[in-house]
Symmetry: C2
Subunit: 291 residues, 2 copies
């Protein structure tokens, strides 16, 4: 097992080369995709995938295309989410959003391109393996980013804006909009390492709890965080009438629920009889997250 | 081998059930995706895939998810292409475009959802096969709809609007924006039937020629066609300054070039030692296309 920073550096240096390995790309499209891919961020999803695969004895190099694909999917979702017709954000990680920099048409296409590239990368990698583990991993990722996963969560987030927050709705949105894309790397990483079904199940529950806690902390940061540390405006959720955990429970209740979700994540992943400190440390570190 | 109408009916009845087989979908998202999927059209891409697979001895039922996936990808591209930031169309196949019916946010998500669903369908199907032929077929489709395929063509189509049409640019746009998604079903269908590489190569060349001819006829219809028969406005390309084959060569030159591309398609597919009448008839019928 490596450190978070080591996994992150691996992803960082592989992302744009992975795009370019897919063939000649029109200059403007390449620029727009690279602009958002290179905007940094914590690379949490791909790091989780690499760590999940490696802790179960899988091959790190083999997992890298899947990790890059996941970060591309996350990035496409941010680009589309920031569009004027969606959340209409001008700033992301301290820089103009993709459509502010490249125009809406190219931003839509850059998002479409990143999602397509993610699938292409995974399919190419899966086609070079001697078993179906790559197909299984890619299938998990496609399912969790799709119409009963992330896209479902985004849709409900957008269409229910301004309605009464109920636990059912807020939970659905958090689970699909956010947690599915943190569950996918756990599930896919374990599949790549050909882990036992019961361990995959634990990895999925860990991912869901981690994802819920992550989004709860995100909701808290929008209320209490620093714009400078976050690189984006705060107070946006309330202004848009977003169904957040804070709107449902208040800040104290949200902090309690996040702590409970983190405890759940830690307990379940400890059941996997391997060195799971990477995952327990990561979950426990969430509560002190500043950006 | 079946008739075009039989393949079309198969696709028609499988499309929405395929979506629904992927799990519970939020109502609004399901509605928006089904609205555009059910808008009809010729189902040319999935029909080509089914016919390509069957003519080479492949299994029709096994090919169906890939055919549906291809139609979903085509449909997503139309939804995004019609958006105000792109071609800004209000009408498609005689009905309001997706964003006119559901709003821009849901239309963007319906497009994202259809692309994700397509990948999920193919990956699920590929995971159930006893060889990598499904992965290979899915990879062809992902590549041809991606950043060096359809998305590349769309990008150049949008970013070069209003510039001088050169043969290099117009050819690039036609080849990627249109022909790649007619080549994909030939290539994927042949892969699903485990056809020999030399036959796959012929199928690809057929698809590219068919696609070029198809887009040339499309450009002609925008100048000479009937709005009633097409179900959309004509004269749009010239108004937007689109780089069309007609802008490059005029209507007579375009008709000649389309005929030449069709001859090329017919000649190359005849080299495959199977009954290829389906494909030669289809190519030859293109010139009399009215919608």
């Amino acid at each position: 097992m490596r450190s978070y920073a080591e996994y992150q550096a691996l992803v960082e240096s592989a992302l744009v080369p992975a795009l370019e390995s897919l063939g000649p790309i029109p200059l403007k499209l390449r620029e727009a995709m690279a602009y958002s891919l290179e905007a940094g961020g914590k690379r949490l999803r791909p790091v989780l995938l690499l760590a999940a695969c490696e802790c179960m004895g899988g091959n790190l190099e083999e997992a890298l295309p899947f990790a890059c694909a996941l970060e591309m999917i996350h990035t496409y979702s941010l680009i589309h989410d920031d569009l004027p017709a969606m959340d209409n954000d001008d700033l992301r990680r301290g820089r103009p959003t993709n459509h502010k920099a490249f125009g809406e048409a190219v931003a839509i296409l850059a998002g479409d391109g990143l999602l397509s590239a993610a699938m292409e990368l995974m399919l190419r990698a899966a086609g070079e393996m001697d078993s179906l583990r790559g197909v299984r991993a890619a299938h998990c990722i496609a399912r969790r980013c799709g119409i009963s996963g992330m896209v479902a969560g985004q849709t409900v987030d957008v269409t229910e804006e301004g309605t009464e927050p109920t636990e059912e709705k807020v939970r659905y949105i958090h689970l699909h909009k956010t947690a599915d894309l943190l569950t996918a790397p756990m599930e896919a990483g374990f599949h790549l390492a050909c882990a036992k079904p019961e361990y995959i199940e634990a990895a999925v529950t860990y991912g869901q709890n981690l994802g819920l806690a992550f989004q709860m902390v995100d909701d808290l940061l929008d209320v209490e965080g620093s714009e400078a540390a976050l690189g984006k405006k705060t107070g946006v959720d309330a202004a848009l009438g977003k169904l957040t955990w804070v709107a449902l429970r208040g800040t104290e209740g949200t902090r309690d629920d996040a702590a409970r979700a983190i405890t759940g994540a830690v307990e379940v992943i400890r059941r996997v009889p391997r060195d799971m400190r990477f995952f327990t440390d990561l979950a426990e570190g969430l509560l002190t997250r500043k950006n």
